[in-house]
Amino acid sequence: MKAFADALPFLGAAAVQAPPPAVRVERPAPAAPLADEATLCAAALRGESEAWSALVQRHNHRVVVALLARGIRVDRAKDIAQEAWMRLVEQQRQGRLERLQLPGLAIAQAGFLALEATRREANTRHHEPLDEPAIAVRLADPRADAVARMVTEERVETAVEVLSRCSPSARKVFRLAYGGDGLSHAEVAQRVGLSLQRVRQILCEVRARLRTALEGAESE
């Protein structure tokens, strides 16, 4: 494990020693020319640690946010995200990683680890997983999931409609930032030819409108 960490400068040797430290990996604001995602993934699949480092920098925040959305505390979320990246690198080294689609793969790996950790914790609490009220309710009424999905669908539809009423440039910025390509705000700014400040301002405005739409739908 130690040797593994030595070869991964983005994680650091200390990252694999217990207890895991709070290593801050933030969304970067790259000044250098931006490397193409496909090129980075191809290099990472060949085992190039610099490519892995760049990919972690680019996508780690998104992985952490996905874990936060599951209700995991931020310190734990960062640890799990870090472990997820290490697992991916490990899989690549063992030749078990044929394709690399990020951040989806890292999010899936992190989700699996989070679930695993929850199960471990449940086992240590004398095998009482059904004490969790939410789990018990879902098991008792599987329709709860379907209803929740329907409500979510409605909210998303409402938000799509609100988005369609935004200006074309605002829609473009939003689509680039949330399009799943893992573009940082700096990269979005480069693509649309606006300043980073302006891009963030646009995003905040669009988010506010969508938030209002979603909360309105929720209160109905």
């Binding site: 709070a22 996905a66 995991i72 949330y178 995003l203």
Partner: protein, 128 residues
């Protein structure tokens, strides 16, 4: 509990990855301990995920621009008007005899009323 509570703006900036670097550490330390802020952060993160869904869905939904929609509408009206004119011309051609419907699509075609069509179908069914 360490530090002060997170403000809504800080929660939003954090999930956007845009929170001031000097504030990130104390923000995270506080959210790791404070139930209310942890819940608020989770909600903000869920919203972020929802925005991604919105973006994906918006990419699939065809956007009908107002100008284009107006053009399609006008084209529809013109097509309907043309159809009405053809129909009127056809009526004239049927009522006024050969040559009266010149300049319309009906011109040059033999006219046939509904009774004649029914007779032709019956003949076909009878094998005649």
């Amino acid at each position: 509990m360490s530090g002060r509570h997170a403000t809504p703006a800080e929660l939003e900036l954090y999930v956007l990855g845009a929170l001031d670097a000097g504030r990130v550490e104390s923000f995270e330390a506080h959210c790791a301990e404070c139930d209310a802020c942890a819940a608020a952060l989770s909600g903000e993160a869920s919203l972020e995920i929802a925005f991604e869904q919105v973006s994906k869905r918006a990419g699939k939904t065809p956007v009908v621009r107002p100008l284009r929609a107006a053009a399609y509408g006008a084209a529809g009206v013109v097509a309907m008007a043309a159809a009405v004119l053809l129909w009127v011309g056809h009526g004239h051609a049927a009522g006024l005899g050969p040559g009266a419907g010149e300049g319309t699509a009906a011109a040059g075609h033999p006219t046939m009323d509904d009774g004649a069509i029914l007779d032709a179908r019956n003949d076909a069914l009878d094998g005649g």
